[in-house]
Symmetry: C2
Amino acid sequence: MNKFSVSDPSALSDAVHGGDRRALARTITLVENRASEYEAVMDALYPLTGNAWRIGLTGPPGAGKSTLAGRLIRWLLEQGQRVAYVAVDPTSPFSGGAILGDRIRIDSKAQDQVYIRSIATRGTLGGLSEQTEAVVDVIDAAGFDTILVESVGVGQAEIAIAQAVDSVVVVLVPESGDEIQTMKAGLLEVANIICVNKADRASADTLVATLQQAFSQVGADSDQTVPAIVQTVALDDGSVDELTAALSHQRDVLTDAGAWTQLREARFERRVRTLVTAAWAARFWTDERRDALERALSTMDVVDRMPYAVAHGILETGL
Amino acid sequence: MNKFSVSDPSALSDAVHGGDRRALARTITLVENRASEYEAVMDALYPLTGNAWRIGLTGPPGAGKSTLAGRLIRWLLEQGQRVAYVAVDPTSPFSGGAILGDRIRIDSKAQDQVYIRSIATRGTLGGLSEQTEAVVDVIDAAGFDTILVESVGVGQAEIAIAQAVDSVVVVLVPESGDEIQTMKAGLLEVANIICVNKADRASADTLVATLQQAFSQVGADSDQTVPAIVQTVALDDGSVDELTAALSHQRDVLTDAGAWTQLREARFERRVRTLVTAAWAARFWTDERRDALERALSTMDVVDRMPYAVAHGILETGL
């Protein structure tokens, strides 16, 4: 019934590269489900990637990310680009990707220039980063010029997703002062652009001043690049010019002097390292070793429960 | 100058167990800094743990967690308990633990019954869970009866911290409907108690009904335990009776039929497994292998960039 057999990775990969939407959707589903075939398909696809600019869009609920994404998609379409939008949506009985279609309104004429998808991810943060990267690779191989990756939050998950993209936009609202205080380590540090949306509200200038102050200290202390801080009003055709200007500048910076290639190579290297480490760990934890560990612990005296000594003992003896 | 030498783990551990506050603070700092000596100190301390009830308190900024924690501390003190409060605070230039002292107001007479500490954690989520657990172990060994562990957020980090405790309270406010939609997978699932604070506001009943509805579906589909859903008004001596009643019930459930012991054994086993896996991974990634990987990737043709094939190749040949 299906044209594309997962048992023929190169045919599926060719169909994705040729622009077939059903092949694209099917391959992303393989990644979501961590189907056993997906490694071979990703290997076939990876050499076809490298065209797309990957932009992460993150921030707290209610910051207006989806409205902003809609504006950015229109801006990119006007430049003749093919644009994809991916919402990363960790699986939960309390959430679901079904709302996505309603949130981004695209002119029907532009439908074949745009691809919109919500993905469910699972497992550890390492897995979140890797799955997101794999999905974006599939879309990249399908020939899209720019891929927007949205995630909702200001936590470790968003930092993991930031590792999978080229440029990171953190979207805040004037009322986000509290969120800045509780943002997880590193999210603002990995931002290339901080966008204060709904900037027509009274306290926007205060937040911008706070951010500029914070980064003026950070910039003096370290080599860290200071992000651009911009203001937008995404709703009702307010101005998003500062954001689009900052993104254009970002793209120029990436294109210059091989920065883009370096980013991609670093990402490939990190990915291979992560995959090797995971496979290496899986090799240790055979069923026999898991069982043996459980047996050893269940008969252990309380005074012998020393976590590091026990761990080193297991490693040295191989159980 | 210091009475407690980190080079004598058992003396330091005895001082912690004997109730010495300076030894306690110093040992926690060892854990925060991942000082090389901390493994030996933790091994000496671990067999002295097992007395404390560990309660995680998590939820979005502004939910009133600290006010609620203050009320819980008073409630526990009235029962004659020794109580510790730990705020887990991922390192960031934009946050800091200094505000903690102001937030929890404790009667000065109770000072020696209470220990309050903010900890900075680093690195991966696995590390977050492990470091939090190690800090709580130190406090447990020091003889505290109940340890409240607060973290701010509704993301993966909070799920990691939930693994380090016996009971999880997720604190929401009536306006948290949106947050529930975007909560990371698993946080509500690991909750033993969901506490709707500021329940004197109009929409509290709506949120409670939404939660009850959501869990009535979950409960029917799986073996998952349905959390207690309670309402509180922590500020201005409003009622927190529903929460304290739910916690008392939780404690009874844990005490019954060895549930507490099982939780601890499962936690010890997971911890040993995590430590073994980390040590095993570190053993693979020697400096030589890191360098060899970088060299291999830098000379690799684009068509050979197949992440899974490259990873398997590295693992099989050992580079």
